[in-house]
C-alpha cells in the first residue's frame, strides 16, 4: 500500500472490496488486459529498455524546505516548488491586483502544467509496467525467461 495523503484517502482504500475487481471492466471480447494495481509501485528495472538512461525527476525542494514552508502532505509531490511559488504569490499579492490584473495566473498555470505533466508521466509509467508484465508472461511461455519464484509457488 502506497502512501496517500489523508485528504485523498478513502474508506475503500483501507477496506477493499474484493468484488470491486470484478465490477470494474478491463478488457473486452478482443482480449483481457493485464491488471496492475494503481496503488502499487513499479516492479521492473526503471532503466530496462533505455540504453541512454533516464533523467531522474527533480523536486525543487528538499524535505527540510518543505517542512519549513509547512507544505501540506498532499502537496509534497514533485510540483511542491511550483505550489510554493503560487502560495507565495497568493499571499504577497494584494487581493485587488489578483482580481483586476490576475497577477497569480501565470504562476498557477505553471503549477497546473506541472501537475498535468506528472499525471501523464504516471500514466506512462503505469502502461510501461503493464506491458512489461505482459511481455514477461509471453517470454516465460516461450521459454526465454525463467518464471519468478512467486509465480512458481502460486
Amino acid at each position: 500500500m502506497g502512501q496517500v495523503a489523508d485528504k485523498f484517502r478513502q474508506w475503500s482504500h483501507e477496506y477493499k472490496d474484493p468484488n470491486q475487481d470484478h465490477v470494474r471492466f478491463r478488457g473486452s471480447f478482443f482480449g483481457r488486459k493485464e491488471e496492475v494495481d494503481i496503488w502499487s509501485k513499479p516492479t521492473f528495472d526503471p532503466m530496462l529498455g533505455f540504453p541512454n538512461g533516464r533523467k531522474e525527476r527533480e523536486c525543487g525542494l528538499t524535505l527540510d524546505e518543505m517542512d519549513a514552508a509547512n507544505i501540506p502532505q498532499q502537496h509534497r509531490g514533485y510540483c511542491a516548488g511550483k505550489y510554493l511559488n503560487y502560495m507565495k504569490c497568493h499571499r504577497e499579492t494584494p487581493a485587488w491586483r489578483k482580481v483586476v490584473f490576475k497577477e497569480c495566473q501565470p504562476v498557477f498555470h505553471e503549477y497546473g502544467h506541472c501537475m498535468y505533466e506528472q499525471s501523464v508521466m504516471q500514466a506512462k509509467e503505469f502502461e510501461r509496467e503493464r506491458r512489461l508484465r505482459e511481455r514477461q508472461k509471453r517470454r516465460i511461455a516461450l521459454g526465454l525467461e525463467e518464471a519468478p519464484e512467486e509465480a512458481m509457488a502460486a
Binding site: W39, K55, A123, K124
Partner: protein
C-alpha cells in the same frame, strides 16, 4: 291562404332537420325478462337447438359456433372473433361510442381483455413484426455498437496514484482511519524515492 300554404311547405321541408325518423315496433327490444333469461343454456346437440341458440344470441346460424369444450362451463355461448375495442372502427356511428358497441352486438366471453385499456385484439400495426424487430435490433446496435467498440479503451487513464519524492516510513505511515496519528510516538522517518522521466539522461 297562399302564405299559409308556403309556411306548411317550408315546414315539411325543414321537418327532417329537426325530427328523427321513428318507427314503431311490436317486438321486444331485449329478448329477456328476468335474470334466468340472461343465463347460458346447455351446449346445443341437434340442429334445431343450434339454430335456436344462434337466434338467442342474435347471430346467424352459420356464424354461430358454441364453445365445444364443456369443461369451460360456457355452455351454448358463442365464440366470437378476436377483435378488441382498439381495433374497431372509430368513425362508425356506434350506438355506444364509449365501448364501440351496437345494440344487440354479442358480448364476447373475455370482454375484459377486449376493453380499450386492456388487450388490443386484431390490432393492425403499421410495420410487420420482422420490420419492428429490425428497428429494435438496429437501434440497439446503434447505441451499443459504439460502446462495444470502445470498451477496450478506458475513458479514465489508469495511472499510478502515489508519486511523492519523500515518503514516510515506519509506524507513522497511515495505517487506517483510526490509526493515523499517535501523539508521543516515534517521529516519522522519510525515505527518498527515485522517479524517472522518459527523457534520456544525456
Amino acid at each position: 291562404m297562399a302564405a299559409l300554404r308556403r309556411v306548411v311547405a317550408s315546414k315539411n321541408l325543414l321537418k327532417p332537420i329537426y325530427t328523427l325518423n321513428r318507427a314503431l315496433s311490436t317486438s321486444k327490444a331485449v329478448k329477456a325478462e328476468w335474470n334466468y333469461d340472461w343465463c347460458i343454456g346447455p351446449a346445443p346437440k341437434t340442429e334445431a337447438e343450434r339454430i335456436a341458440a344462434a337466434e338467442k344470441y342474435g347471430l346467424l346460424p352459420e356464424d354461430y359456433t358454441p364453445y365445444s369444450d364443456g369443461n369451460l362451463g360456457h355452455g351454448d355461448y358463442p365464440t366470437l372473433p378476436w377483435v378488441g375495442e382498439y381495433a374497431k372502427d372509430p368513425h362508425h356511428n356506434w350506438d355506444d361510442p364509449a365501448t364501440k358497441r351496437d345494440f344487440h352486438d354479442p358480448v364476447p366471453v373475455d370482454l375484459e381483455v377486449h376493453m380499450a385499456d386492456r388487450g388490443q385484439g386484431d390490432r393492425q400495426y403499421r410495420d410487420s413484426p420482422r420490420k419492428m424487430f429490425a428497428y429494435l435490433f438496429g437501434g440497439t446496435l446503434l447505441f451499443m455498437g459504439g460502446m462495444m467498440l470502445t470498451l477496450p479503451y478506458s475513458m479514465l487513464s489508469e495511472q499510478y496514484q502515489h508519486w511523492f519524492p519523500y515518503e514516510m516510513e515506519g509506524e507513522y505511515v497511515f495505517q487506517g482511519p483510526d490509526r493515523n496519528y499517535r501523539p508521543g510516538g516515534p517521529l516519522p522517518s522519510y525515505k527518498k524515492n527515485a522517479h524517472y522521466t522518459f527523457e534520456p539522461a544525456q
